[in-house]
Amino acid sequence: MADLYTITDLRLSLADMTRKPLLGAAPRLEILKGLDFTIPKGAVVGIVGGSGSGKSTLGRALVRLLEPSGGSIRFDGTDITHLPEAELRPLRRRFQMIFQDPMSSLNPRHRVGRIIAEPMRLHGFDGVDARVARALDHVGLPQGFAGRYPHELSGGQRQRVGIARAIALAPDFILADEIVSGLDVSSQAQVLNLLEQLVADLGLTLAFISHDLSVIRRLCQRTIVLYQGAIVEDRATADLFSDPKAAYTRELLEAIPLPDPDQVWA
């Protein structure tokens, strides 16, 4: 299988303004410290790590919301590492993102129908209304929701709108950044099942960022474990769970409280 993403020595640093000296440049804060990995077409890859691991930064670099400071990101053969916004725009249809907080990522003053339709209009799709209807159908929302505002929906419903917006563009790749962390377990299960179904039906490539290994276990074939901006483990999910190699992965796994009073949790 060909690789959709090839990431080589990816580095990203930000200026640390809190420690800027009186004169001269602020010291750089290394967020990503040289990552190498690939995402094959059709794969479902989990990216896991604690807070400060750089997983969200990595996600935003993949869809070029952030510009890396070193290394390269190749998307389907094209080097997008430093591609200017104007040249990036036609490519953007092909990699989409679903955000963690649907309340903030859906424009509060636009109706759901417009939120889903707008990206398609930008990319010159025809028959947009029919496509909006189909996208709503795909994520299991009734057609009437097109006329509602985001604040009129529940958390799980909003997240479905986020998914509908992403899949409506028929992208090759979707990045899901902690999309169930704000939801209750019952909506969590529903959204995950939906995503699993869509990925299979539409043949999508998915990168799923989460702090929750249990969710990754369910959804992803391969898992990348990040710790303080570096990859500590990158393996098939089943292997990673049965025989974790990195000390941090082991620590993560052992810390998870299973719903089972007999679990040894030392």
């Binding site: 209750d184 099942n193 249990s214 969710v215 719903p259």
Partner: protein
């Protein structure tokens, strides 16, 4: 005898729908009881009612909350406040917002001891040092003079735990105390709380949405749906075989990496409908 005893507690939004529907539960001295439910189920509301910190927009419409045998709801406000301050404490959810940014750590631990319990300042400060050592904070002397922003999130959570145990309360309400933390830190903090609870023999009301956490720290639990207790069980019995269909579905929806295909099962619509009907029936019964 149970130290905390809630009987038929009903709370509603002023002029609005009920938030708690005749909730009854007991916490024995030294026992840890989990309060579980999805958001909006009313689990935090129970903790707030016990501690007398219900928001101004809600009102208690009936029932009693007996703390050490005394019905808190029957006391005048000032007396109730003093009594709660002297016998109960809160471990809050978010360590980043639960410490006053403009006051030193020391004062925030000792204030209750000095102002409410009338301790001498020196004795209170000695107690604070002792507690910080107990929650494994290095250099307690220095930390007492720090402001919150100078400490990490994990340190702040430890300080809040120390502060909760300061007056040797008989009951502590822990309101999702680890939800904001990474799993690895969560484990340390849960172990710390459990250890302190056992050593001090404190009763603990543990509010959480995570059944995994409940199975680690609690001896009994109450499952809530729409402000109603649908199941009240010992932890071992519950995880072996939940009695109510809704709690069984909740358990099935909980992620479990050891058995991925059997976890994360959505709660079936039929179960939701059934439990809603149950709530409606209880409401009718309550009014009829």
């Amino acid at each position: 005898m149970s130290f905390l005893s809630i009987r038929e507690l009903s709370v509603r939004l002023k002029g609005g729908p009920p938030l708690l529907r005749r909730v009854s539960l007991d916490v024995a001295a030294g026992e840890v009881r989990g309060l579980v439910g999805e958001s909006g189920a009313g689990k935090s509301m129970i903790g707030k009612a016990v501690l007398g910190i219900l928001p101004g927009s809600v009102e208690v419409t009936g029932g009693e909350i007996r703390l050490d045998g005394v019905d808190l709801l029957a006391l005048p406000p000032a007396e109730r406040r003093r009594r709660i301050g002297a016998t109960a404490a809160l471990i809050p959810q978010d360590p980043l917002t639960a410490l006053n940014p403009s006051r030193r750590i020391g004062g925030q631990i000792t204030d209750r001891l000095v102002d409410i319990l009338g301790w001498e300042r020196g004795r209170a400060e000695a107690r604070a040092r002792e507690l910080l050592a107990e929650v494994q904070i290095p250099e307690p002397e220095r930390v007492l003079r720090n402001y919150p922003h100078e400490l990490s999130g994990g340190m702040r959570q430890r300080i809040l735990i120390a502060s909760a145990f300061a007056a040797e309360p008989k009951l502590i309400v822990a309101d999702e105390p680890t939800t904001a933390l990474d799993v690895t830190v969560q484990k340390q903090i849960l172990k710390l709380i459990a250890g302190m609870q056992a050593r001090h023999g404190t009763a603990l009301l543990f509010v959480t949405h995570d059944l995994g956490v409940v199975s680690k720290v609690c001896q009994s639990l109450s499952v809530l749906y729409a402000g109603m207790v649908v199941e009240d069980a010992r932890v071992r019995d519950f995880f072996a075989a939940p009695k109510h269909a809704y709690s069984a579905a909740l358990l099935a929806a909980t992620p479990k990496y050891t058995d991925p295909m059997a976890s994360l099962t959505p709660v079936p619509d039929a179960v939701i409908e059934a439990v809603r009907a149950e709530v409606a029936a209880a409401d009718r019964g309550g009014h009829g």
